[in-house]
Symmetry: C2
Subunit: 119 residues, 2 copies
């Protein structure tokens, strides 16, 4: 139900490693990995879900409106996260050389399709 | 000592509102604002400093290496944060239509200059 979109996100983005649809409670809805041995994307997602909740709170307290996207670039991996609604987010993990712009674009255009299927 | 760099960041980036050099303890080193009435950049920074600390921890726990950059896009504002070292970060606030790519580029190239002056 979600796997085709998650697979498409990874396969169409240079340097993408995995994608993930998750609730802010840290529970995975579905995920796709180019190489399941390379990265435990669910562990990564559940770590980030806590932080995302706090970013949402901070942004709303600061009157910045609804948080739409968060990107974290670390030495060994870049993570781009698109918040779908108050309950779910979709994330992509990329190699440091990966195409962050393409990941952001695809996450934005596929967000509607994921939301539709979640409801 | 830092103001010239912080001003340059804002003035050279389309849609930039303010910039800030801050410690992870939430204490401002220096800041520059195009319109000081429009945004309390120090309040924003100190809210984000807490979240940034947690992102650093999560990334290091996940073996993703040192966190280099975090970008948060909310409805009314985009924030791009460059982590300088274990103690300090530099951030820029942009209007939603602002040039995030330019902000990321300038923060990266100016990081060295800020680090040099901090030590």
């Amino acid at each position: 139900m979600f796997k085709d979109v998650l697979r498409e996100l990874v396969e169409r983005t240079d340097g993408a490693i995995a994608s993930l649809l998750m609730g802010f409670d840290g529970i995975t809805v579905d995920s796709y990995s180019r190489d399941p041995n390379a990265l435990n994307v669910e562990t990564m997602g559940s770590e980030y879900s806590v932080v995302l909740g706090q970013i949402k709170q901070a942004a709303s307290m600061l009157d910045l409106g609804i948080t739409q996207e968060v990107a974290v670039q670390a030495e060994n991996m870049t993570t781009v996260i698109r918040l779908l609604n108050d309950e779910y987010f979709v994330a992509m993990a990329l190699a440091p050389s990966g195409s962050v712009g393409k990941a952001r674009y695809l996450l934005r255009v596929q967000a509607g399709k994921l939301l539709e299927r979640l409801s």
